[in-house]
């Protein structure tokens, strides 16, 4: 089994991005030749061929870039995670082997993945903590940036100044400045985090209280990270047609109602975009402890790149699951809500038609 995997399946992995690139190239060339032939026969080029040509033309530069510089790396890291990688003289891929109960040498392709759990005892805990803190941070960031964006979209003086101030932390968030600031305690709300919250949290079980107290101690840090989200919401708010607000105002809607009935539904796609962006930045940002673990493992003597690659892949799967959950939650709400309103309308209409009174009236009508 392991032998077959190493000889036949794994070496193919390296070619996956190039196969994709090749497929698109081949399709492009085929479409081009077809279009040229049609043209030489003085027949109009079919529409879908034209669409394909333009589509590939527009996507091609990006596809080349992502395939060569990113996807090949992703595929390679998956490949290497099943090997023992040595960079002594050139690149050496050594298949992972182990001994079974009989003392025979067998291939163990998953050895790296298993050893992650053996060597990194707190890896699962770190992952779980990350997931919990992500779930807690996401709504905070989204709500905060939405509120700030709404305020900054309003009629106030010095909007430009405020916008700049709210965005600036993003610019420096990556630098070592952030570490210095955290070390100095600027990033936590001093009195609040120590007294009020700890006393409230004392009664709760630990696995709930720890992430929440973390959330409060990092509150400022979280707010610093929401600059891009504010920017995206601001851009989204520009798309809400002013005529709708005017109409709502004429109908006597309050600001609160306008927000729930007009602003929020219009911004829904932006909320989805922002949530996914937030999850991605939190998951791959430099302040993430797991990234640190992976980075350190890459250059550690006892662990090495293939070990780190195994770690990365496990992490990627978890991030993918989290993203999927986020996506489903926000998506489902949207469809459910619209369906519900629709169904409610239809059902209430039906009920109205078939209520006893109506039926009686109808029957009387028939009788008469």
């Amino acid at each position: 089994m392991g032998n077959w995997l190493y000889e036949k399946v794994l070496p193919l992995l390296e070619y996956v991005p190039y196969v994709l690139l090749g497929c698109v190239c081949a399709a492009l060339i085929a479409a081009l030749i077809y279009a040229l032939v049609r043209r030489s026969q003085k027949k109009p080029v079919q529409r879908f061929i034209r669409d394909t040509l333009w589509g590939y033309f527009f996507i091609f530069p990006w596809l080349v870039g992502i395939c060569i510089f990113f996807l090949s790396g992703v595929a390679d890291s998956l490949l290497y995670s099943f090997y023992n990688l040595k960079l002594d003289n050139g690149l050496q891929l050594i298949p992972l082997t182990g001994e079974d109960a009989m003392g025979n040498t067998v291939y163990t392709p998953l050895a790296n993945y298993i050893s992650v759990f053996n060597k990194e005892l707190n890896y699962p805990v770190t992952l779980a903590n990350f997931a919990v803190s992500l779930i807690l941070q996401l709504p905070v960031i989204i709500a905060f940036s939405l509120i700030i964006a709404l305020m900054l979209n309003g009629k106030i003086r010095g909007r430009g100044f405020f916008r700049t101030v709210f965005f600036l932390p993003v610019i420096i968030a990556t630098g070592p400045v952030m570490n210095q600031l955290t070390a100095q305690g600027v990033s936590s709300v001093p009195m609040v985090s120590q007294n009020v919250i700890t006393s409230v949290l004392a009664g709760m079980p630990e696995f709930i209280s720890t992430p929440i107290s973390d959330l409060f101690s990092q509150l400022i840090l979280i707010l610093w990270n929401s600059g891009i989200q504010i920017l995206i919401f601001l851009a989204g708010l520009q798309k809400v047609p002013t005529a709708m607000y005017e109409a709502a105002k004429i109908d006597g809607a309050s600001g609160w109602e306008t927000f729930w009935k007009i602003t929020l539904p219009t911004l829904r796609s932006m909320i989805l975009l922002n949530s996914i962006y937030t999850v991605v930045t939190l998951a791959t940002g430099s302040t993430n402890p797991i990234i640190d673990l992976i980075y350190n493992a890459t250059y550690a003597v006892t662990k090495g790149y293939s070990y780190a690659a195994a770690m990365t892949w496990m992490y990627t799967v978890i991030v993918a699951i989290l993203l999927l959950i986020t996506f489903l939650i926000i998506r489902e709400k949207k469809e459910k809500k619209s369906k519900d309103i629709w169904r409610r309308d239809v059902e209430s209409a039906k009920r109205g038609m078939q209520s006893k009174k109506v039926r009686k009236l109808l029957e009387r009508g028939k009788a008469a």
Partner: protein, 288 residues
């Protein structure tokens, strides 16, 4: 509340605005803290830099950190202007190209119908989730195979295809009404005209955001200089700043603070310029 797509800054102060300020100002103070800290830190003389407990504000501002920085820079074999030039070339190329490529791909993925469209967008989603640190070694091997080590291409090419940028821009292009594009097609516009005359103007906010993101990722990038180049003359400014300040000496700390301020200023300028294009662009979106 102040919702409403207002496009004009009010010229007069109105008392309705007071509650808004009550919220905005305190938060702005917190949000502004890191910037104030950076500026203060850069002007701290040696004794204040290492004061314990550390202080937030500078009490005796001095230029000594900047002087040290420029003296050290003047003493090195390659002039600092070389690094600045390298950084400018690389940053400009990456920002322009990545915005161009992302908008083109976003347009195709959002508004065009062709085969393999779904899988290609999935590829982008995978790239979005993947930890960038984990691809450094394979990326080095790719760059080595292409033979572009120690060239500007080694700085530029790996950073051009930004998955985040594409995702952002694609999501915004989704919001451009199809009827606009159909109308343009009826008028006889080709795909390229639609791209240039409709997509680009209508997604300016997203483009500005993408450009800022791209700029940030390039301007502060030490990795490409570190991994893909070995000749000093081809390396970029952030790398140089890092080497100057990572000496570990006492002076290094002060120079690091000054360098942080210098690296930060272009970011600020870019944002102030881009800020206006994030706003006000949807005003003429054309569909009512």
């Amino acid at each position: 509340m102040a919702i409403g797509g207002t496009r004009v800054n009010p010229s007069k102060f109105h008392k309705n605005q007071i509650p808004l300020y009550l919220y905005l100002v305190p938060i702005a103070v917190f949000m502004g803290a890191p910037i104030i800290y950076i500026i203060n830190h850069a002007f701290k003389p040696m004794d204040e830099l290492f004061a314990f407990p550390p202080r937030f504000f500078v009490s005796h501002p001095s230029m000594v950190n900047f002087r040290n920085l420029f003296q050290t820079a003047a003493g090195s074999s390659i002039p600092i202007s070389r690094y600045i030039f390298n950084s400018l070339v690389v940053t400009l190329a990456v920002v322009l190209l990545s915005v161009l490529i992302s908008t083109m791909a976003g347009f195709a993925l959002s508004k065009m119908n062709f085969r393999l469209k779904g899988p290609i967008f999935e590829v982008n989603n995978i790239a979005l989730m993947f930890v960038a640190t984990a691809v450094t070694i394979p990326r080095y091997l790719t760059i080595n195979t292409l033979g572009i080590l120690d060239t500007y291409f080694a700085h530029i090419l790996p950073l051009i295809a930004m998955p985040v940028c594409l995702f952002l821009i694609k999501q915004f292009i989704d919001g451009v009404p199809n009827s606009l594009i159909e109308a343009a097609q009826l008028e006889g516009a080709g795909s390229f005209t639609i791209y240039r005359k409709i997509i680009i103007p209508l997604t300016k906010p997203a483009i500005a955001t993408g450009a800022i993101l791209a700029f940030q990722s390039v301007w502060t990038n030490v990795e490409t200089s570190n991994l893909f180049t070995s000749a000093e003359g081809i390396r970029t400014l952030p790398f140089y700043m890092n080497t100057l300040t990572s000496v570990g000496s006492v002076q290094g700390q002060g120079m690091a603070a000054a360098a942080a301020l210098i690296m930060f200023v272009p970011n600020l300028l870019l944002f102030i310029v881009m800020q206006s294009s994030v706003m006000n662009t949807m005003a003429y979106s054309g569909i009512k």
